[in-house]
Assembly symmetry: C2
Homo-oligomer: 422 residues x 2
């Protein structure tokens, strides 16, 4: 007998019919002889509706109360899910984040999980019930206030519970079939990935693949927990995010996929005196602003002027804050001006096989060159190459790279490089 | 400094504007130097919407999950109320029933309060905050499940909290100005009662006055807690439900008011053998059915047949259950048939002064006779006379009795009987 944690997002439980459909799915898993713990998000637009209501009341609602308000959403979906399961002749018990032992810190709106003590969930399953847990929410360790986990919170709840319950797998259900080699809306020939390592999935998530939040993949990786990304609309197997023992690495593909991201902007700090410590002053200011910097490029300074330009990318939403904090240190750092550019796109090629395949970058840059794509910035990790392009060239770039690495579903086997691949 | 518990019903917090209006009212009470604890119901139609959702999912939802679902309603209203108060520059902290220490038994949907441990509410007020508590809900003592208190639950929460906090007064806000001498929709000349004893209020509530639930009046009486029934739409004083020391009884009116009730039906058990124990068998069966019997009348049996009829009144909603349980004992008891009549109305005249005023019943029955009302059943307590009439005669009966006892607002002083009244 296995223990399965199943997580269903808001689109999977958008209305009464969806809830009933998902309930049948859950009951099938239970019937197959598994212990089942289900994590649900709020139904459809519930969270947005609650945010609207709050904004009608106050332009700046207290975060503690915002969390109290928003957690009503999962409370509703978990209760009706338990009802739908009961209606199929199985018993279910729903638990709030607090009841399920999701213990967090005190940061309302973006709490981090400190501990998971799922005694009541365990007892419910031991009693033959299906346990339903509210995603996205917990209770703070010190003050016992209701907290929410922020973006991707329900996935994190599911993975954290699965880890604490020593589940065999955490199934994350959404309206897509799994993780694809590229976004199918851009690359219609993109293939579903059957199996991917957590390291690769981390790079995919960190670089724009929206199917799983970075945070939940990190959590699963730390606890060595397999995640199964699949569709609630189809019985097909999805994508298994799993780390195999070293010896099985030969099974892995050279390249997993191509991720893209349109959520970043580029800031260029123009005319920075080329003295030691100036870059540090700039990034110290940004760090104080709590801005997450992604890629950084510094031009070679000209001997004549002794000045250089420093460019970096950051989430578009952090743009105003970054500009404000840089403005405060402008006189001290002595830079001339700031340029803000949000018409950029980022493309990332991800594959564990890159480590031992020097030919990958050559193929990558040739594909971009052949497609006439201008590269503005480059960054790499052991298993990833990322480039910044113009926003309006990003789709072409993704298609071109996807094809060059033989990822298109019509092209059969993936291309093998340098002879050391599969 | 006083401690005031303020309870607002669903109609007082129907939408964002209502919530803001009520928030201003709460802040005024706080500004006046009081410690303030607020109990809120769910906003407007929220509870009905949640019930609709549940019925789309399952015809017979588990009660535990129904409670989990419905408690989302107050969670929303308490959070937005706290936001609205924060927006006025005061701080508020919201608490679920569980967090506020409303400890109940395990009866989902109609839990009874076993204990109130309002440590967090007390601490919030001591910290200068306005405490907002979700009405209608609690947490069960043994299994720590979320429970709801059933009809009138939010009033009960307010009174129970007020008692546990040793509040000076529990203010129950609704959309009417207070308790009236009769329902103003039937008797336009009905007067607001300024002050009423808990004993009289109990009789009013038990006999159809909907403004306060019986249960909450009983609770307040047990703890000697004054209730102030008032309107959230007006700053006017409402009705104070308060017991004065014996010596002040002379202040009380002879008659408090006329209550009416259309929620009952009458069942007549026809042809019951007139032997000792037969009535006991009938009411034993009804007791097992959990049916609340109100008035009972037994005809004189005729010598010829040795049979009698027994009539009783009960809530219309209990009619089918009562008929079913009586059917099961029909052969054993040996009665002939059942008659069900839901076209009845009940009128009750209530006043503490009745105890020492024998003239009251004469005036009462004369008023009904003058109005041509046929009386079908009669029951009395020390401070109440109730009669059953035809449903379509009830309004006339109420108006006639109201006038006869000088309760109309245009008629000045109340009539004095037997010389021993005020």
């Amino acid at each position: 007998m296995s223990l399965v944690v199943m997580k269903f997002g808001g689109s999977s439980v958008a209305d009464a019919d969806s809830v009933k459909r998902v309930a049948r799915r859950i009951v099938e898993t239970k019937k197959a002889g598994n212990d089942v713990c289900v994590v649900v998000s709020a139904m459809g637009d519930t969270t947005d509706d609650l945010i609207d209501l709050a904004q009608q009341i106050s332009p700046l609602p207290p975060l503690r109360e915002m969390d109290m308000l928003l957690t009503a959403g999962e409370r509703i979906s978990m209760a009706v899910m338990a009802m739908a399961i009961a209606n199929l002749g199985f018993t279910a018990q729903s638990f709030t984040g607090s009841q399920a032992g999701i213990i967090t810190d005190e940061q309302h709106g973006k709490a981090r999980i400190l501990d998971v003590t799922p005694g009541r969930v365990r007892a419910a399953m031991d009693g033959g019930h299906i346990a339903i847990v509210a995603g996205f929410q917990g209770v703070s360790h010190a003050s016992k206030n209701i907290t929410t986990l922020g973006r991707g919170g329900s996935d994190t709840t599911a993975v954290a519970l699965a880890a604490a319950l020593h589940a065999d797998v955490c199934e994350i259900y959404s309206d897509v079939d799994g993780v694809f080699t590229a976004d199918p809306r851009i690359v219609p020939t993109a293939r579903k990935i059957d199996r991917i390592s957590s390291e690769e999935m981390l790079e995919m998530a960190a670089n724009g693949a929206k199917i799983l939040m970075l945070r939940c993949v990190e959590y699963a990786r730390r606890y060595d927990l397999p995640i199964h990304v699949r569709s609630s609309f189809s019985p097909k197997e999805g994508t298994l995010v799993i780390d195999t023992p070293e010896g099985e690495a030969v099974e892995a593909s050279l390249i997993s996929g191509v991720a893209h991201d349109r959520s970043e902007a580029k800031i260029t700090v123009v005319g920075v005196p080329d003295h030691p410590g100036k870059a540090a002053e700039i990034f110290e200011a940004l760090s104080q602003a709590g801005v997450n910097i992604d890629m950084i490029v510094q031009n070679v300074s000209t001997v004549q002027t002794g000045l250089t330009d420093i460019s970096f990318t950051l989430p578009k939403t952090d743009g105003p804050t970054a500009a404000q904090f840089l403005g405060r240190v402008q006189d001290r750092v002595g830079f001339a001006s700031l340029q803000y550019d949000d018409q950029i796109g980022k493309l990332s090629l991800i594959g564990a096989g890159m480590k031992s395949n020097p030919g990958v970058s050559a193929t990558f840059f040739k594909a971009l060159a052949d497609a006439g794509i201008n590269i503005e910035m480059i960054s790499t990790s052991e298993i990833r190459i990322s480039v910044i392009t113009r926003d309006d060239q990003l789709d072409d770039a993704v298609r071109s790279v996807h094809t060059a690495f033989g990822l298109d579903s019509s092209s059969g086997e993936a291309v093998v490089y340098g002879g050391t691949g599969r």
